[in-house]
Amino acid sequence: MNHKDGSDEHEQMMESFYRYIGYQHIKNVGKEFDEISELAKDIEYPKELDSWFNDYLEKSKKAEMRNKRIIFIKRLAKRVAMVTLVLGIGLTVMTFSVDAFRIKFLNLVTDVTQRYTGFQVVEIEDHEAINIPADWNNYYLLDYVTNGYSFDRIQEFGENKIVFYQNSQGDEIQFSQFPNNNSFQVDTENAVTTEIIINGNKGTLVEKNGLLTLIWYNANHAFYLMGNIDKEEIIKMAESFNVKNE
């Protein structure tokens, strides 16, 4: 034990001595360095080294700026993502809970292209004569149907409800309705489209090869009415749409 203590003590003393030798060596080097400084005063120093060092500093500065920009962009991206998320959620909530916003939003979405236009359908009928499924709630029917047509059948595709009317020649009128969160397309290529107001709701009438398609919306649903009938008659039918079972 004593031998170990003595050995440690000896090692510590030697380390102190080495440190002192280091200190003395540095003093000696310092003196030599000052002599070198005197000798180096008039040395012809290559300009290439100055240029290289300046380039090196410039690269360092650019690297620093680049890293700062990357950090800034990362921070900004996080904030933008957060704002976008909040805006997205906010818009969704507003769109589907506030009528005024929803109508504007849907009008914008349905403004479509030259070839296709978004629309929605509804039908009417003497609902007493139509066999309405028991699980239908808040659905729409047409109180007026043009002469010669009568209720034929109902089809249901998910949330899309379609009522068919037929005349004695087998011609059909379709009235379709579905909630506003759905979308659809109508062939408007080479067709004549006219803006129409149906009971205060904005709509579009599309005429193509004698086939009329009338699309309009209200706060909750989109409708379309389609058939080979007169323009006045299709508008009259559309204006007779009424919510039932509400």
Partner: protein, 191 residues
């Protein structure tokens, strides 16, 4: 790849710039004195500056002797590496400079008291082999660890330990020689 290493901290960059402005001629002078070739000396200075960039955060005062020693150590070793590379001289065993004897701890315990002669021993050690004074300084005064010394001198860890061990052994031998010399003088004086 070494030329792509850049300092992105403005304080360290400014310190390196000060270091360059103050010591660029000395660095070039030292490199030229070893390599005697302008292109090689330029390479040595460039590499040395990039090495300094690695240690610039440790430099507290660019005008102190510690900083001067660091610059001399880096430039000198870089220039020697370039010289060896050019001459295709392998590093070989750099530590076989002199025959080393083993001294008992007890013996050196008796003579280590002569600290007042530290300057003499530092000079003698540097005369025997400058690398020994250099490595003792880096390890015990500058307080670099083995890995840092290895990078600074461009030698392996094993070589760092070997060189350090031999530097201590040489120093002890110098201590004994001096002690014997003084003992002889004392006997001659009849003390």
């Amino acid at each position: 790849m070494i030329f792509l290493m850049v300092i992105e901290n403005i304080e360290e960059r400014n310190k390196l710039e000060d270091l360059y402005v103050r010591y660029h001629k000395e660095m070039y002078y030292i490199a030229m004195s070893i390599l005697n070739n302008t292109h090689d000396a330029q390479d040595a200075v460039q590499t040395s500056i990039l090495k300094c960039a690695d240690y610039v955060e440790k430099i507290e005062d660019i005008y102190c002797n510690k900083t001067k020693n660091l610059i001399v150590t880096i430039v000198k070793n870089t220039a020697i590496d370039i010289y060896r590379h050019k001459k295709k001289h392998p590093h070989g065993n750099l530590e076989n400079f002199m025959e080393l004897s083993t001294y008992s701890s007890q013996f050196t315990d008796d003579i280590i008291i002569r600290l007042s002669e530290g300057s003499y021993y530092a000079e003698r050690l540097a005369e025997v082999k400058p690398e020994y004074a250099e490595i003792l300084t880096l390890r015990y005064y500058e307080e670099f660890n083995d890995m840092e010394i290895s990078q600074l001198l461009n030698i392996s860890h094993e070589n760092v330990r070997t060189r350090l061990s031999r530097a201590k052994a040489v120093l002890k031998k110098l201590l004994v020689e001096k002690w014997e010399e003084l003992e002889l003088e004392r006997k001659e004086d009849g003390l």
